[in-house]
Symmetry: C2
Subunit: 397 residues, 2 copies
Amino acid sequence: MTTRALDDVRVLELGQVYNAPYCGLLLAAQGADVIKVEPPGGEIIRRPAVSPGGASYSFLMLNADKRGVTLDLKKPEGRELFLRLVEKADVVLENFSEGALARLGLAYDVLAACNPRIVLASGRGYRPGSPYESFAAMDFTIQAISGHMAITGFPDSPPVKAGATFCDMLGATHLFAAILLALRERERTGRGRALEVAMLDATFPSLMSYASPYLETGNDPGRVGNRHAVPGSAPYGSFPTKDGWVAIMCVTDEHWASFCEVCPDPLLADDESLRRMPNRGPRRDWIEERVAAWTRDLPRVELLDLLVPKGIPCAPVRSLGEALDDPYNVAQGLLRPVAVEGRGEVRVLGSPIRLEDEVSTPRRPPPRLGEHNREVYGGLLGLADDELERLVRGGVL
Amino acid sequence: MTTRALDDVRVLELGQVYNAPYCGLLLAAQGADVIKVEPPGGEIIRRPAVSPGGASYSFLMLNADKRGVTLDLKKPEGRELFLRLVEKADVVLENFSEGALARLGLAYDVLAACNPRIVLASGRGYRPGSPYESFAAMDFTIQAISGHMAITGFPDSPPVKAGATFCDMLGATHLFAAILLALRERERTGRGRALEVAMLDATFPSLMSYASPYLETGNDPGRVGNRHAVPGSAPYGSFPTKDGWVAIMCVTDEHWASFCEVCPDPLLADDESLRRMPNRGPRRDWIEERVAAWTRDLPRVELLDLLVPKGIPCAPVRSLGEALDDPYNVAQGLLRPVAVEGRGEVRVLGSPIRLEDEVSTPRRPPPRLGEHNREVYGGLLGLADDELERLVRGGVL
């Protein structure tokens, strides 16, 4: 058993849905002791009443390698127990709505009074103090307000969200990095801090391809389907083959030259003016029609076999099933099979950050509701069994 | 001047396009000395020949707060100078294609022989050793192969990419966190390490909403436009108003109850069976038609004023211009105005991670090509002016 970068870090995760739970997953994957603290009924996406074995598949995917306890923070005894846990922890991680923690009497200054080394990390939709502070936020609403829906889809269709929950995940990953920064700072100062990462902020840089022309010229490129926001790159898009689509992009003159070596269309290869990118932009409709006329009759794999060795950026447009059933995912530890009581084998998420050469199996399956109550409240805080029973009866755990 | 978490870290950034440059931006924002090392002609998206002032707007947006030097790594003297910089650095950050650094004679073992504390951080499309190792990768091709295009768009349209370059940015943010982990580990071991983050891996968790039903049931939900992948949540979607769309999502029974308090349609509010989520799913077409019939006649702001105080997740579907021109961006330091020679005022990106209360202005504008050659090669490595001139003449710088 090798040591890992966060072996000495304990996290209390008050996470719900995707944002903070994914951040907790990233922490746990590096060896942190992540204790997921759920209300006695379970966090929102656990949905114990309607899920076989007492937990939804989404919950299971995001919460392996964590310990799980229950606690009603709205009860005075629950709050008190939480503060005793804070004394033994390094990080409190939460993504309640703005102000919720303070209303529970658990604002940062209260936590810091218990443990000045504590880092309070909050995933938010928007920055506190901003005009949107009071907006309840989830991935979809951030895609809407951020401008990302406006730049997604075909020109003749309404704005559409990405299927990817990239706002949650970008928020969570920036939050993870912010926690690591705060732990580094703590080594120097001896003190923790409160920090927030807003999903709106975390997704702002992903507007780049549209923001740069807009800020430079004031012109909105509009929705462009699978094309490049700025005309110039061609071919750039999703091209039909005999058995599915292939994404192809020529964004340099070198890509184009390589493309012409494999594409047998003399109207493309022999046209000297097309060898310079500024001349391809105005003719991209025509170029891409010619390209499609070629790709249409090829099997997808054959087209890729021609393009890949030439260094032209390309990839199959895979279906969800193709993408998920790819052995790559298990081989790289992105999906990890684990036995879950009442469920059989479940494939849970792993971290994209893998510092070891070898892929590891989950150290523990996702926790059942309150599974580690005795281990944590007994072992860590020293509560006796009869005391635990009393707390369960009183609805505190 | 306060100290910052990465004040003591020096980074050599061999970044191009968005991925590693965004990671470099995140490092620089925390005080790291990021030295961007470009080939003598500039990195790919600088495009000096066709850009006013010698740099494209995209390049400017991503590279403030960095120093910039030129260096031809393909020349023996260039490689040698780079290794002398490695001796003075903590991190080498790159996103060349797989194997490129090794072909330059700059594999990790060579760097570590110069400086065993060096961290080599590589942004990749795919994991080295995987079946896709040889695929040239960019954001668009990762959206294609990852399955994200297949889950984006309307059911009757082909797969479409998100306008967001979320694959680049998720790759970069995970890479940033991985660097922080390696620096933490180095404090214990005294040694750096090589690490890679693949964009395909970094975007995998964002499949969550579609992966969980697929892995649980084997059924592909298909493209669902702005709806939820799994029927049950209703209303959930983008609803028309008098002056634009509004995203609304009721994903709990509490949301629904609150919604019925503001939506005046008695057919919704008075139907007791609809109060439980499992009963709303099968009737979502009808529910959402009723909702749209109500929202259609309201101004967007009025609808939001009704929904927001009720805690119902909602947001305007903003245009690109609305999103970019929002004063929020400058107030939160996401866009930072800075004077750039030959360009006037340019708005460059800031980091979504802000540990200070106050928004800071850029410490320095994006570097001109080779702007800090003398400062870095002279100041850091002690090269004399005539030696620098000789290197410029020889095309090494």
